[in-house]
């Protein structure tokens, strides 16, 4: 439950150009010199344990992180301890862009599991952006992606019923896996029911029932955290189309 001290790990043993995630976090088209500049800017690889925090809301020690292994959740809390999970970050994802627009992070980031991240301090990042215009574009695209992701979640929470929310989530996780070269039809959920229910704005029991219902409908097969998608078409149909029974469309 404590923030892991930064600068606690050794320099990354794997250079960026050898990293298996380079396709995801490296801007394309860097030449040798630029690549070296980037690699020298990467502060280090950080290991954090399950339940430890990568950063807290209002932290001024900002940084961009690339998840190499494990999983991170970001969340917002009310004064009375109520939590809303805002996003899950898996290997290949970048996080920390929430701090970019201001001088501090806007949410908490906690490890769902023992996790390995690659850290680039905000100062170095800004510096890099000055030197490499391509990095600026990359950053802008990342911020845009964050905003769109949050808007999509707003649509999900505001307009869909629970079964559709779960279908939407599973469908997008499946697409994400496909993009990363993993199976879109069979994968492990990186988070506990508890966290997924919170993210999707429903009770744990309801989430569990919706998993069971999708299974009864032969759309998925689920066992603990392992999910197999048996009928992708119907899953996507549930996810996209059926929001509310459209009461007042003009």
């Amino acid at each position: 439950m404590k923030t892991v001290p930064l600068h606690s790990a050794k320099k990354s043993a794997i250079a960026c150009h050898n990293c298996s995630l380079s396709d995801l976090c490296l801007p394309r088209g860097l030449n040798r010199d630029e690549l070296e500049l980037l690699e020298n800017s990467i502060n280090k690889t950080v290991k954090i344990k399950k339940k430890d925090y990568l950063f807290h809301r209002d932290d001024t020690q900002q940084a961009i992180f690339a998840v190499k292994a494990g999983a991170i959740k970001t969340s917002l809390s009310t004064p009375d301890g109520e939590e809303q999970i805002l996003g899950f970050y898996l290997p290949g994802d970048l996080l920390g862009f929430d701090a970019f627009a201001r001088d501090r992070h806007t949410c908490d980031a906690q490890a769902l599991d023992d996790t390995l991240v690659c850290e680039l301090s905000m100062d170095n990042f800004q510096d890099l952006c000055g030197k490499l215009p391509i990095m600026r574009g990359q950053m802008m695209r990342q911020i845009g992606t964050e905003i769109e992701r949050e808007q999509m979640l707003l649509l999900t929470l505001g307009q869909m019923r629970t079964e559709e929310r779960l279908a939407t989530f599973l469908s997008s996780l499946s697409e994400r896996n496909q993009e990363r070269g993993f199976s879109p039809a069979e994968f492990n959920l990186p988070m506990a029911r508890h966290d997924l229910a919170n993210y999707l704005g429903m009770a744990v029991e309801t989430l569990s029932r919706m998993f069971s219902r999708l299974q009864e409908e032969k759309i998925i097969a689920v066992q603990h955290r392992l999910v197999k998608i048996d009928d992708m078409n119907r899953l996507k149909q549930l996810a996209h189309h059926t929001c509310r029974p459209a009461s007042d469309v003009l």
Copy 2:
């Protein structure tokens, strides 16, 4: 229901340094030359009619707008016509920053009423950012504000029940009015019940009942779009604290 053609209105008759909203949209600390640069970059003042669109999702003709009078809503739609309103923009608010991170807008913007906005094309804006570092900071802060606003809405939709959602909305509208120098205790809602219900993720009837309930509880007095807040303390209490009955706080 059509997008208003841009470049359709005359040059703004009111210079930025005379505009009543300058405190809100002008970066502080510009000198005379810089101010002139900004004023010359402002494309024009645009009038749009109720229900017309200021921009559409995927529009590549991007611009930043400052609302001078009226009100704008931004929203996201599913393929089947389901809508989720993402935000309301009132006089003094800036919108269009969603397009900044990419090369196109990520949502639709529609006038809730006859509306007057001040337009700054994205090209001019980018140009200005290059010349005036202070503008870059301003822009970053705006994007940060947008992100935080959306995260707050996620918390509201995901964790609160309907009465709390409405209390949260009224409370923040009240604060906003106070910041703008208007009465925090008595104001007109700029949007129809229909739109507010959608924004808050509930049925119109439920919203209406919650207005009635807050009135029965003597927290507010509401008549059509006119709202008077009689017990600000209890309103804010409802808004901040009571999310869900906190089942599993550690």
